[in-house]
Homo-oligomer: 470 residues x 2
């Protein structure tokens, strides 16, 4: 196991547990891109490698050389120092973490293992989209290894619920938790759980996933241990992650034509105080009143943390400042002018309401209610996005209306009984540029459907959500 | 400016401020690795690109294809989808951040700008060494842009001091702050400040750097603004960073043959309490006493944070547990057995002292003194490493003893008057596999030297520290 891999390079040719330094050479190897130790690619793990094969950033050279173009006379930098074996920048880290787990696991006493890392990963995107699909992105990826199947599945479900709760309670985004079909599963997983969010163009965003990997990776990577009965067994592993894609989801779920709308728990500033200073002689008094209010508010808390309050005392036009904070999505804006000091009132505006709406409130009352207002804003955003999503999921029980649905502009999601094969699912998906987003765990918030598969007519208890996605 | 760059891919051919999506093609381009827009590489920035040219991870393909070897019949994955232009994974991010700065800067009112990011960067290492030189590493990189040269230099020096203080006050590592010579400067910088640490094999580690970039990058990337006088000017920029290399430095500065030795401020656990439970009937009482002690200690603080205390109640052999915490470098170990409960004493052992040393202390007294003991441990480590370093820096005033010095095993550093040219410095460096680590800012802690350059005999006020380094 060499240093590069430990930090995330994913060696294509060498089995990750093999010892020794990386083979590097400035001379072209005899067989270009030969994969001398290709055992790594076989067995279950080949499924994983092949699953990511179409979106790999492949490093083939390790330096640049300046050469002079004989025609133009200009210098350019060209790749040099060809590697004996190409490297793939990690699209995910099961391979790397698994190699470490294999070294750490001797006895059942070493289990369970839990590793979480924040790492940049790279998946080559032909059509990048800011925050949703970029060649490189930051995520957290958790990896666990367990003694039993039951424990590993419980861990997979635990993280699935945590993602659901994080989206709901912090980002004010309702998600549908469910399981991916075999076609949409993480390459190498036995079960992939997902939380699916709908954004305002009615597209789906896979906002987080949690995978039960069974013994597929542990067998390929030899994550084995001596069990309680003295026999050598393979661990059951899981992995799960959310990425900076959540930022894109957040923007597309709540923002409006005036800019960003931030749920209070993730807003950098929850309250911005804007001093109104029309006259020079009252200017300092207004600034002082604003700072005093900010200081008082910071002694109050929302969801266990002190309120995050900012006073914008920049000497800029009031309208410019106000619109800047609207665009930045700050939940509460407070204006204080010379008259408000006398009347002990403040002008409160909320980002979840129209820009024209404002309420003049007694300052003491506002201070007492500030965190309650933040809670209301969170609830408004969550209620609004839940209502929007629910009104854009329709039950569908016959194939004709299923086909017709997708020709509409920005079609919502369809909820159908489903008993088709992976091949049939794939055909329908390709035909309409849709996918089964998930087989929901609960149908409580979903419309009632019939019980016959929309395609095959078979009786089924399986229900599927279909939609376009990012 | 396309999405990939925003997240860190460093496009070789296209100027980073150019608009439009990345050019990608599955077909080989007409001119392999053509750099159609090579303007980017000229001017001052070429120096930067060429400075990193020998250690670049170059991405040339964006997917893998499974092919069957006609001879062996085995499947292997080979690079496919050749890119029309190769990409370099960022070795540092001036190019990317500068492109953003250029878009954000219109008026002097937009300055100063400060961005800090935690990012993985990649520099291809032929001889990787864990924590010190790895192909990929995590660091923080700060980037600033200023209206004036003075402000930018002040920022460069501010961060330089912060790194010095962080190493001294958190890691208990004394460093020599100084300036790099032109030869050792960051490619494209006007001035590179460094903090140099000595580890126990007397090698130097460049532990952090802060660069004054002048207008070199701002001119190449057009980071311009309308100044107070209405003219268009170029900003003065800086960049600075420390990396996971600090972990390697920490390990090599303090550890001993028994394992890690952690300075208290960065120790995950500052105090570990080990219950001694020889008899089953007193077991629970001992465990309870340990938990109660831990809880009390957590209400005390060290350097402004609550004490980090762990009770190791695992049912393992006492010696095994004790050695585990020694190896992990925990500053204070406390043992409590059945007799100690009666006598209200605890057995205290310190990681900065021999394993055999222990003191039986009144429990109440220990609680009162715990944070004081942690402060003492910090000071012991700092004093010890400072003394070690100082005893391994010798003044050297003649060339013969300079040459002779480097043939010794693990030679320490030499401190000399220096007035040589970059070429002369390079020749001496290559001859002895050494470098000028820095021209120290202060000579207060350093031995007295003569005033004639060790090589040229010229009178000089410049003093240089020479050493082997990682």
């Amino acid at each position: 196991m060499h240093g590069d891999q430990a930090l995330g390079l994913w060696d294509l040719g060498t089995h990750p547990t093999a010892a020794g330094p990386p083979i590097q050479s400035d001379r072209p190897p005899k067989r270009l891109f030969s994969t001398a130790h290709s055992a790594f690619l076989f067995g279950k793990e080949a499924e994983h490698a092949e699953g990511f094969a179409t979106e790999c950033a492949v490093v083939t050279h390790h330096r640049l050389e300046a050469i002079k173009d004989p025609v133009t006379g200009k210098t350019k930098m060209i790749p040099a120092g060809e590697l004996a074996e190409p490297y793939v920048i990690r699209p995910t880290s099961e391979t790397i973490i698994g190699a470490a787990f294999a070294r750490w696991t001797e006895s059942y006493r070493d289990l369970p293992l839990l590793i979480n890392q924040w790492a940049n990963v790279m998946r080559w995107e032909m059509r990048p989209r800011l925050f949703l699909r970029t060649a490189e992105f930051l995520w957290q990826e958790g990896h666990t290894a367990h003694e039993t199947k039951e424990e590993a599945i419980a861990e997979t479900r635990l993280m699935h619920r945590q993602y659901e709760e994080f989206l709901r309670d912090h980002l004010a985004i309702p998600v549908i938790p469910g399981e991916k079909t075999e076609n949409e599963r993480f390459p190498g997983a036995d079960m992939t759980l997902t939380v699916e969010a709908m954004v305002q163009d009615r597209k789906a965003i896979q906002a987080g996933t949690s995978h039960y990997l069974g013994q597929n990776f542990s067998k390929a990577q030899n994550i084995s241990f001596t069990g309680r009965d003295g026999t050598v067994q393979h661990a059951y592993t899981t992995s799960w992650g959310v990425s900076t894609r959540l930022i894109g989801t957040l923007i597309m779920a709540h923002s409006d034509d005036d800019g960003l709308v931030l749920p209070p728990r993730v807003a950098t500033q929850q309250i911005v105080i804007l001093p109104i200073t029309p006259k020079e002689d009252s200017r300092q008094a207004v600034l002082d009143a604003c700072q005093a209010l900010a200081e008082t508010l910071r002694h109050h808390s929302f969801q266990g943390d002190p309120l995050r309050v900012h006073v914008d005392s920049r000497d800029l036009n009031g309208g410019v400042k106000k619109w800047e904070w609207i665009k930045k999505g700050v939940p509460i804006r407070v204006e204080i002018g010379p008259k408000d000091i006398e009347s002990r009132k403040v002008c409160v505006q909320r980002r979840d309401q129209a820009v024209s709406e404002k309420s003049f409130t007694d300052k003491g009352e506002f201070i007492q209610n500030a965190s309650e207002i933040l809670a209301e804003i969170h609830n408004t955003l969550l209620t609004r996005s839940t209502a929007f999503r629910n009104s854009n999921i329709s039950a569908c029980n016959d194939l004709d209306s299923f086909h017709a649905h997708w020709s509409g502009e920005n079609p919502g999601w369809l909820f159908t009984p489903w008993a088709g094969t992976p091949e049939q699912e794939d055909a329908l998906s390709k035909q309409h540029k849709i996918t089964i987003r998930c087989l929901p765990i609960s149908t409580d918030d979903l419309p009632a459907t019939g019980s016959k598969c929309i395609l095959t007519g078979q009786e089924t208890t399986t229900r599927a959500i279909w939609g376009r996605s990012y």
